[in-house]
Symmetry: C2
Amino acid sequence: MMKRKLLAAIVATSAASLFMLEAAAQAKPEVLVKQRKAAMTLQGKYLGPMGAMAQGKIPYNASVVQRNAGFLEALSKMPWDGFDPSTKGEKSAALPAVWDKPDEFKKAAERFENEAAKLAQVSKGGDEAAVKAQIGATAKSCGGCHETFREKQ
Amino acid sequence: MMKRKLLAAIVATSAASLFMLEAAAQAKPEVLVKQRKAAMTLQGKYLGPMGAMAQGKIPYNASVVQRNAGFLEALSKMPWDGFDPSTKGEKSAALPAVWDKPDEFKKAAERFENEAAKLAQVSKGGDEAAVKAQIGATAKSCGGCHETFREKQ
């Protein structure tokens, strides 16, 4: 009896896992591309003004930086599941390297996530020079990934 | 001498404020629309699976809900500055009511922000029924705003 219950539980769990995979796979390639582009668009929205502040093009505003950096940290985690192999044929600036060099792509993505998380952390302190330096490091990690994995714009 | 310094500081501050306004105004209407649509797209990405879980269409996964709810809380704050009056003429599903009833629009936006923040909070606990109820309340606050302020889809 216990064995049957255990078996039933295993079957149910497997079925649930399959269902989850199916649910994840249900997102159409064009939807995945739209979503990952949306994440990149918003990364630009919030990094842009911080970059301008770091370069002295607009006045530094600590509370704007703190808000933007918090948003950017969340956004830095959002694009990656959108680079599903099913999206290879979709119109996008993603280069084949995304799927040909998945480990490098993953590393580049994580580098950006880490820099964005560090920026969110540093922005909570009052050290303007440190914040500006970290804005630069974060922007560099965007560019580092785009260089190899995105068409020249 | 002190007075002159004070005056200089006031002038500098005013100039900085104008500069900030100018910098904010620099975002072109089509960019603002693209950014606010991006925020809505991502809200859909992360609310969608939670809605399916609340309705029992896919299995409940507490850690996915917690991650999605955290993302949604951040995303709930992102669209609103994109509804600048300069965007009235852009192609979008936004109805004139957005600008004709700004107070109502603001209230509807805040209702969604509050529900999303509450969901992020509740999702950190282990009460599945409470989480599912709050997913419903959050989805309802999306619909409540869309009813009045977005074209029927």
